[in-house]
Symmetry: C2
DNA sequence: GGAAACGATACGCACATGCGTATGATTTGT
DNA sequence: ACAAATCATACGCATGTGCGTATCGTTTCC
């Protein structure tokens, strides 16, 4: 796959390589890829309700419940009733969750740095920008 | 996910967006993503044996059999005994397979072109190059 | 020439995934 | 006030996926 495949194949290849590299790091910190996705999304602060959270990380909403249960059991997040809409629960990182996310994020950055070795800062910037464009274009 | 997520998340997002865009095109041509991956790999000529083919597209080798069965039934590929190793079967594109692959590849390029709209040729080149680097760096 | 490795194939298992559906509590529209 | 929509949650199902394992024919190595 060194050649001019379609972009989807290239993205899949790069994504798989990165996921494989990051997998052991996540495992060391006792998190699954999906659990980390939840922590990262919460840390960023964009999603509040569980439905929004599921959509943001593209995870099945019926399975998010068990995923959150696990994170709650580990004391990384809390599920509090939303005062303005008592149907909804607000999911929030606990201090422990913030700390755990920070540690894992840093460890992941080290791995990424290793994978990116040889690419100039300018290339990295273009890469991120182009990927973001692809992900958000209709 | 417009921000500085980890690269894996960015690749996943871009890959998913591309796959979603390409899905309908593949469906129109009566091919699944995996079937297209087989055709593309064979068209490129890199893999010959079924085991190598499975590894190249990262598909389960025990499921590749049924996948190939479908393609053979449609007359797109053939499974011929390898004269130099009678354990192995050489999988080859038929003329119909070559034609079908070409048609789908062209249709996919149109879709990619639409997704890439707004990115300069230079950016596209850097993107492909960087993704290839990521996919092939250990 | 016999043992070990190998390729294709088959089968089963555990698990993940996506989808539909249901229900209870709550909000919203009229 | 009543109907419809919404959110979290639960359950089940069909399918996809990876993994181990077995068999059969064939090749390789000693």
């Amino acid at each position: 796959m060194t050649e001019d495949d379609d972009l989807a194949a290239l993205c899949a290849g790069a994504g798989r390589a990165l996921a494989e590299a990051e997998g052991p790091v996540l495992a060391e910190h006792g998190l699954s890829m999906w659990q980390y996705a939840v922590l990262a999304t919460l840390a960023h602060g964009s999603a509040s309700s569980q439905l929004a959270l599921a959509q943001e990380i593209h995870y099945d909403k019926t399975r998010l419940i068990a995923l959150l249960d696990g994170l709650v059991a580990e004391g990384l997040v809390t599920r509090a009733p939303d005062p303005s809409d008592r149907r909804a629960r607000i999911v929030r990182l606990t201090p422990a969750g913030i700390q755990r996310h920070g540690a894992v994020r840093d460890a992941i950055r080290v791995v990424e740095e290793r994978k990116l070795a040889g690419l100039s800062p300018e290339v990295r910037r273009v890469l991120r920008s182009a990927l973001t464009h692809l992900a958000n274009t209709d």
